[in-house]
Subunit: 472 residues, 2 copies
């Protein structure tokens, strides 16, 4: 029988305290693999807390992969690959694939950030920001103040990795909201993730084998190809990218989106995370690029911990961007380098000027450190949740309700809509185009619904048009 | 006997009309090589214009290399390599060096844009902008207006090569002030010249031989090395980079600063320009990168025409930057691609997001198109001219007057101070450090005097300190 205690004199909600205690017991081995957890109702009675609190804790553990559920049986502790580090070399030597993966074979369909001239009634492929959500008045206020008060600072060249004030603000934010503890000196600021990637290739070297997830961000392969570096696309199963495939193909660097895979929406479970870390740790020149592009927008439960925070071997390059959380037109991203790469960066690449203007670096630094960023994220999250809920209810209430299934709607700003179409898919897509709706498919009869740029007042009509397109 | 006519009903000054007519006659062959031009006084009488007008025209022709002067003899037409294009292939086959070059052997001394922590009383190596010169109030006014009026535009992703408004403003500016006629579509905007260079390497390819001038911008070699592309440093003579050396070393792409060589200050004469173009034209994969970094700040006469405007074969990649003319902390540069590379760019690299934020692109677009940029440049030019004149008079009036010679003070924001030192150079440099002055040498007893960042009120004292350092 498991027993936990709760502290009422803290800001940490009860569900989160429960989640942490169960998680620690799983990691320490106190709760062993495949052990059945109490039912929600029993556990709630036993701990004198509400059923909903237990449910929240279980959901968080589920989405991070610490536990799994069997229909009509209950919740069980996952088999977490704790021995990964020790086994890594042996596994490498044997090079056998010990799991039975369901490999996903998506078409690497149309680029999600297409540059078509065509304006759709609703474009569910676009990751642009809703213009109405940008905090223009605050931004204008900060800009005005800075242009008047900080003139001499604004004329000083920024260090190569960005001004200290911004790196410090980001470090504090990451500590408070993402559980990531880093020194501002390990942060590199740059004009968008693509720019960071160009720097990374120069840092790690051209004569390495890079890899992306398949399916994944098309742009990453494009950047690698443009730089003429060898790169592969590594298949995924239901847990994410498959480590044995990395091993088999001699990959050195893998780009991955563990918190919220693009485009499938998969959150990489903890077992796979350890396997991936284990893969990286078993050779010196292996690194994992963790692209945490929309972690701010997990709409339910606690945010998924970054792979970066579980890494103790300096194998993770953490990347994040304000292009998603603030505006895609303000080009500010950052990466956190592990110690070895950081030294190399300072020695070999710090001759580069920082690619972001000091004006916008300073504005953003104040925006974060004065608390505006947090407020903005909270407001955005509420707005997106409202939008998502309305979107889901519109789908349910339309004819789509009976022929659809929705995957991974808890995280990030897109989900996957699976449809059982009665007409050929080609016809459906053609109908959509005629109805002035743009959607991209991630697999046969699976469609990415990216709702960040769709105004609330267009949602109902957009769903009606999608529904109509299934019927012609 | 040469005769020219002038048009009084035009804004073009008489000296410029004279310059253009002489230049055309030289280019057409009407004035043949080594022909002596009339003395300034005779020519002025003959044309019924003032001596100073003839002098201005001759100076412009001199600095562009169309004519040369012999002490106490007069002015002669240069031997311009007009047959270059036709001869290129033959010369390539023979691969002989037909000129007697005085090859410069500068040390590639300390990086001019060093990132030392130390703050000097006066740092003549820094290319930073004088903070007091940035048009803060105009910039703030434009920013405020844009943040209020253009919100929906600001949230739209910029095309890969930058927003049309900025490219159009640059194209108009180039036409009006630089004699360069290009379509806005051939302009690519990016976050600084270094970013442009990273894009160029991806565009032209890694398996080419790149070259820089020796001496030259240290950063260009650093970027090439960081990208692991083969690169050489090509020696210069008194006319600039030596084409036969490019030929001999199998160079494909040369980075050059023909308007104002960094750091020697040399303006490439027209003969060498044709030779260089001829070199580029004689093989398909050859390109010249023309870095026109401080052409706005030629302080006397008309600006030197860009190499780009004399190229009819699509061999020049023109680069310029606002980091020099506006502020080094606003990272906006641009390049103009010749048609073949432009097509390749649109096909293969336009998947990249533009690296400059839409906010700053739009602010700069208005800053240029509403005439503020022109005013700013004029004001800067006047301020720099004043600063330079004062600096030169301080040098003359100090003990330095008798032991110094000044080179290339007409162009750009730096010149070369040559000193006949009576103490060992090492001692002199040590004394300077002790006197809190930072200067870098470009050759033995030759020092780069970059005055852009030195406030006017520090100049007199700074020169006194330099003078004192020669005497200890």
């Amino acid at each position: 029988m498991i027993s936990y205690t709760f502290n009422d004199n803290t800001k940490i909600p009860i569900y989160e305290q429960l989640y942490i205690q169960i998680k620690n017991d799983i990691l320490s081995g106190k709760l062993s693999a495949n052990k059945r957890l109490p039912s929600k109702r029993n556990f709630a009675n036993q701990l004198s807390i509400s059923v909903i609190t237990v449910e929240n804790a279980y959901n968080q553990l589920l989405s991070e992969g610490f536990i799994y559920s069997l229909p009509r049986k209950g919740f069980y502790v996952s088999e977490i690959f704790k021995e990964s580090y020790e086994l890594a070399d042996r596994r490498k030597a044997n090079n056998t694939d010990d799991s039975t993966h369901t490999v996903f074979y998506y078409e690497n369909s149309k680029d999600a950030s297409h540059n078509d001239e065509r304006q759709y009634f609703a474009d569910f492929s676009s990751n642009a920001t809703d213009p109405s959500s940008f905090p223009f008045s605050t931004w204008a206020k900060l800009t005005r103040r800075i242009l008047s008060d900080d003139q001499s600072f604004l004329m000083k060249n920024s260090p190569s990795n960005g001004i200290f004030l911004l790196r410090d603000a980001i470090a504090s934010y990451l500590q408070a909201y993402r559980g990531i503890n880093v020194s501002p000196d390990s942060i590199i600021i740059g004009a968008g993730t693509e720019t960071m990637y160009n720097i990374l290739i120069q840092l790690i070297g051209h004569h390495r084998i890079y890899a992306c997830e398949k399916p994944g961000y098309k742009k990453i392969s494009e950047i690698l190809n443009a730089n003429e570096v060898e790169n592969l696309q590594i298949p995924m199963d239901e847990s994410g990218v498959i480590p044995s495939e990395l091993e088999k193909n001699g990959v050195n660097i893998i780009h991955t989106t563990p918190s919220h895979h693009f485009p499938t929406g998969i959150t990489m479970p903890v077992k796979r995370r350890y396997e991936l870390l284990s893969w990286a740790t078993s050779a010196e020149d292996r690194y994992i690029i963790e692209d945490d592009y929309d972690s701010e927008f997990r709409l339910s439960g606690r945010p998924i911990p970054a792979l970066f925070s579980t890494d103790t071997n300096g194998k993770i390059i953490y990347m994040n961007t304000f292009t998603k959380s603030l505006a895609s037109t303000i080009r500010i991203s950052y990466m956190i380098l592990p110690p070895e790469l950081l030294n190399k960066y300072y020695q070999r690449l710090s001759f580069y000027s920082c690619t972001v203007s000091t004006f916008e670096q300073l504005t953003l630094a104040h925006f974060i450190s004065e608390g505006y960023y947090e407020k903005h994220i909270n407001r955005m999250r509420t707005a997106y949740r409202k939008k998502r809920d309305y979107l889901l209810s519109c789908i349910k209430d339309s004819g789509l309700g009976n022929i659809s299934e929705i995957n991974e709607e808890q995280s990030g700003l897109h989900f996957i809509l699976k449809l059982k179409l009665k007409i050929p898919e080609e016809k459906f897509l053609k109908n959509l185009e005629e109805n002035d709706i743009h959607i991209v498919s991630t697999a046969p009869q699976s469609y990415m619904i990216n709702y960040s740029s769709i105004p609330l007042n267009k949602i109902s009509e957009a769903i009606n048009r999608i529904n109509a397109a299934t019927n012609k």
